[in-house]
């Protein structure tokens, strides 16, 4: 045996893994500090929580900077054996997630004090879930993506139920966990079928193998790869482009070297057709799994219960960051599968149907809600539907191959995600600021404008922006505008009509909150007392997110300009 065996040594570039390493490392440091700080002299629980909060915030800022640096030097080449691929879209998505996490950290001390939560665990879980989310935005391999989704989900389940004294929190965590695990099983079963159909779990390959395969195919011979050569650097993108997948058989091959027959143990690869049924089954199952995570109707049933039962800040983080991460992954997945010729027929229908049902169900469901957090949950289901219109645009045959347009749709999705995050930080932030009064019945908001005009204005800003079409010069308007414009351009008129109708319905419940705050004054007798925390933390977040909502409403291209393109 004189096989040309080369030891395969994976290469790890430190600068590429730094953003993830920072977050995971900081999470571990928080766990250690939480245990060790109690031994420090003169340490009180309040001071310990304060230190943990600062460490978390600073590490998040650090991760944000590394993502931004990554973005500026983005080369979109897969790294870590093709497990990740940090393109501009993924890096900016990670920045939006870190923004939500920072808002959480700044607002968290008063929540921890008020509900006596374990700070160390909460911050560590936040960092772990944040690491899972940021990794998911740049994931380039399906099983890596699955693990990222699990990292973020497992941390979020516990964050939903972190208040052990609250019976509702426990119930929320339970429901979130059961349906989340159910969704994960769909996801991984779908991944198995995508793997079965294409022979790879990578989204975008490194391309070298593909070139060689094609060369061998042209010569009409099976390609032989030496042992140890990674055959897995062909991605779903390349496989679907070729319409053919690699089938590998390891067998002894005889070669004539210097007039002698030498047996070399080699891997022989041939091409086989992609099985379209498995491909569709795989994609549909993965999409259904993601729909659960994104709380898209008809897979949304956990969202209202979890948002209501979880601590408000956890609900904010679940509503914003986890959706940004899952949408970023969905965008990368459909982008990798863009060569799939069956996309338009069945899958486009599936995606468009989910978008339609989500918009209708979310908006109609929100109308009948009396609890403010449940209203936000249904509102987020509807917003997920609007975003799914953009996904349906992305898989539309007309977009195929038109890279300018793909870039525009991706920018629209990113801008919408950013807008959605900023608006929801504001809405949940006000609810958390008002404490028990803001987290319950909407009628408890009556007379808020008279008592606290600034807070009422911030909430009104958020509601009008969430409404979207109707109030220009707010961020939500442009988010929807971009998404609808791209959808109309490719002719998805029916989806846009449903979206516009949903927008009209949404005016009813968003304006209802505004009316309660500004025009009604008869606070219900059972309204809990107001318990606004002192200090600058909440005003800082509320002012900052209000500024984002207004500023980017005036200058929507600023977001893309800040992004450098």
């Amino acid at each position: 045996m004189t096989g040309s065996f080369q030891a395969y040594v994976p290469q790890v570039a430190l600068d590429q893994v730094l953003p993830f390493a920072l977050l995971i490392g900081a999470g571990l440091v928080i766990l250690a500090l939480d245990a060790l700080l109690d031994f420090a002299r003169g340490m009180t629980p309040a001071r310990r929580d304060n230190i943990l909060c600062w460490v978390t915030g600073i590490s998040l800022l650090g991760a944000g900077f590394t993502h931004y640096a990554d973005f500026l030097g983005a080369n979109s080449r897969p790294f870590l054996e093709g497990a990740f691929r940090a393109d501009a879209f993924g890096n900016l998505g990670a920045l939006v997630i870190i923004l939500a996490a920072l808002a959480f950290v700044v607002m968290s001390p008063s929540l921890i004090r008020r509900r006596r939560l374990p700070a160390g665990e909460l911050y560590a879980l936040l960092l772990f879930s944040c690491s899972g989310m940021t990794m998911l935005t740049v994931a380039n391999e399906l099983v890596t993506a699955f693990i990222c989704i699990e990292i973020l989900s497992l941390a979020l389940y516990v964050m939903a139920g972190i208040d052990r004294r609250s019976r509702r929190g426990g119930e929320a965590a339970f429901k979130y966990f059961i349906l989340g695990a159910f969704a994960s099983a769909f996801l991984v079963f779908g991944i198995a079928f995508l793997y079965g159909a294409t022979g790879t779990t990578q989204l975008f390959g490194q391309g070298a193998t593909y070139d060689r395969m094609m060369a061998a195919e042209r010569l009409g011979m099976p390609i032989t790869l030496p042992l140890g050569e990674p055959t897995y650097n062909m991605g779903i993108n390349e496989v679907l482009h070729a319409g053919q997948r690699v089938v590998t058989v390891s067998q002894p091959v005889s070669e004539i070297v210097d007039g002698q027959v030498v047996v070399t143990d080699q891997i022989v690869s041939t091409l086989a057709a992609v099985n379209p049924m498995w491909l569709f089954l795989g994609f549909a199952l993965v999409f259904v799994g993601l729909c659960f995570k994104l709380s898209l109707a008809p897979f949304h049933m956990w969202a209202p219960d979890v948002y209501e039962g979880a601590p408000t800040l956890s609900a904010m983080f679940i509503a914003t960051a986890s959706k940004v991460a899952a949408f970023a992954f969905l965008v990368h997945l459909v982008e990798a599968m863009s060569f799939w010729s069956h996309f338009p027929a069945a899958s486009g229908f599936l995606i468009g149907g989910v978008a339609m049902v989500s918009i209708l169900w979310g908006n109609l469901g929100a109308v009948v809600q009396s609890n403010f957090k449940r209203l936000l949950a249904y509102s987020s289901i509807a917003h997920g539907g609007y975003l799914t219109i953009a996904i349906a645009t992305l898989v539309h045959p007309e977009v195929f191959g038109d890279y300018d347009r793909i870039e525009r749709v991706r920018s629209a999705i990113l801008f919408y995600l950013f807008a959605y995050t900023a608006m929801n930080i504001l809405a949940f932030g006000v609810a958390a600021y008002l404490g028990a009064r803001g987290e319950g019945d909407i009628r408890n908001y009556r007379g808020l404008f008279r008592r606290r005009p600034a807070v009422a204005l911030a909430m009104a800003l958020s509601m009008l922006s969430l409404m979207g079409l109707g109030i220009p010069l707010l961020i939500g308007f442009w988010g929807k505008m971009y998404v609808f414009k791209e959808a109309i351009d490719v002719g998805l008129i029916s989806l846009v009509i449903v979206g516009a109708a949903g927008n009209v319905v949404s005016a009813f419940y968003y304006l209802r909150v505004v009316v309660e705050m500004f025009m009604r004054d008869d606070l219900p007798a059972d309204a809990p007392p107001e318990e606004s925390p002192r200090g600058l933390a909440f005003p800082l977040v509320l002012v900052a997110s209000s500024a984002l909502v207004v500023l980017f409403g005036f200058l929507p291209p600023l977001f893309l300009a800040l992004g450098g393109r």
Binding site: G170, K175, F189
Partner: protein, 101 residues
């Protein structure tokens, strides 16, 4: 196509379906979770079947990742169940109705 491969796939799909039906029908939290585990293992079986049929090596190791994730999920899930049991003395999913709009 190798018949063994086809049988394995059919078995995997059957296990997955049993899991889905179980999650939708069962009421006890532990039983629900067992069905989720069944679905994950059905996926594992599919991974191995595809991996073997096409002579691709990386399918089999993926199973290890899924199993690890399943173990982590069990850890977190059972902790949530215990916390819930402490406050209510039962973990029947259909009797958790504090949150309903």
């Amino acid at each position: 196509m190798d018949p063994t491969f086809l049988y394995t796939l059919i078995l995997s799909a059957t296990l997955f379906t049993i899991g889905v039906i179980g999650v939708l029908w069962k009421r006890n939290a532990i039983a629900l979770f067992m069905n989720v585990e069944l679905m994950l293992n059905a996926a594992n079986l599919a991974f191995v079947a595809f991996s073997r049929e096409f002579g691709l090596m990386q399918g089999a190791p993926l199973v290890l990742f899924v199993m690890t994730v399943a173990a982590a999920e069990a850890g977190v899930g059972l902790a949530i169940f215990i916390a819930l049991f402490r406050s209510r003395r039962h973990i029947r999913a259909d009797e958790l109705d504090l949150l309903r709009g």
